[in-house]
């Protein structure tokens, strides 16, 4: 929905915070702390990606060999479920150190922050106005760090609630919760054993989820195929007859995750974040 880049600069602790300060003399002067902090007031999932040119990295972090220019990218990922307001801090020290080891002229250090949720609203889409770098407004310099902010409104990619009982489920049906009655009285094994309930509404999730368009999939490479799954479930209490010590007595049991409460579209197990409650 919205994408924007901001220029910034990387300043090791030894360097005075002034423009025009060359970084070459500071590059090997010790460790550099690289926290990326932002205030989240929109909820949803926030994913921070740090990219720099160099050798391809796995999820375990940088390799021991020095990076070479243009060979790939470093990607440190953190997925944060943000259902409340507050600062979210990402330690990007590893990426900054990695980027500093690149031979000159090096490509820009690219920090990516992605916010995705249903019903994004003006707060998130206008979040770029709140992003500031110390050097913002200064002339662009080669190799300066950049912050990319992406937001994605997943409103059209979620489930639609309960299915329309009048409409048959087809391939084109959008993900929804459909009534499904489990008749315990009609099950042989439950006879004379399950005393309550005689049956219950279990519900099931049917239909398909809209997949992000190809263009979005490129920008959001971690957004896998979305599937219609049970995202919230409830337990089912039962009364069963149990034989103990030669006597039969009724006992209450509670079976978890027996009734579907809500269906959602999820990508690789990651739910579409819910709308914030007032």
């Amino acid at each position: 929905r919205f994408s924007h880049s901001f220029r910034g600069e990387a300043l090791p602790p030894c360097c005075p915070r002034s423009h025009g300060q060359g970084q070459a003399g500071c590059a090997h002067s010790g460790g550099v702390k690289g926290p990326l902090a932002f205030w989240d007031s929109v909820g949803g999932c926030v994913r921070a990606t740090v990219q720099g040119a160099g050798a391809e990295r796995g999820p375990r972090g940088p390799s021991q060999s020095p990076p070479s220019r243009g060979a790939g990218s470093l990607s440190c990922l953190r997925l944060v479920s943000a259902h409340e307001s507050g600062w979210k801090v990402f330690d990007v020290t590893e990426a900054v150190n990695f980027w500093q080891q690149l031979s000159q002229p090096r490509p820009p250090l690219l920090l990516q922050v992605s916010v995705q949720r249903e019903h994004l609203g003006p707060l998130a889409s206008g979040a770029h106005r709140l992003v500031r770098f110390a050097s913002q407004g200064a002339p662009a310099g080669l190799g300066e760090p950049q912050l990319e902010l992406h937001t994605l409104d997943l409103r059209d990619y979620g489930a639609q609630g309960d299915c329309d009982p009048e409409a048959p489920v087809t391939e084109g049906t959008r993900c929804c919760r459909q009534e499904m009655y489990i008749d315990l009285q009609g099950m042989k094994w439950a006879e004379n054993w399950v005393l309550e309930p005689p049956g219950f509404l279990a519900y099931e999730c049917v239909g398909t989820c809209q997949q992000p368009p190809e263009a979005l999939a490129i920008k959001w490479p971690f957004l896998g195929p979305r599937q219609c799954i049970a995202s919230e479930t409830a337990s089912l209490p039962m009364i069963v007859s149990i034989k103990e010590g030669g006597r039969t007595r009724p006992q209450v049991v509670s079976l978890p995750n027996m009734r579907v409460q809500k269906c959602s579209c999820a990508s690789d197990g990651a739910l579409v974040p819910r709308r914030l409650q007032p």
Binding site: M187, N192, A230, A234, V253
Partner: protein, 55 residues
Amino acid sequence: MTGEQLLGSLLRQLQLSEVPVPDRVDMEELVIPAQVRAQYVALLRRSHGDRSRGK
């Protein structure tokens, strides 16, 4: 949700390996005590109120 899944969950919860076969005579005399029914109803109410986040 199928009957088999429900049965499997029930057996696991009760730590049973197979479906018990109660005596017909026992079942005819069986009465659900008030406190057991009250416990069942309380759980039923709670399960309608509380939601657990699954996958």
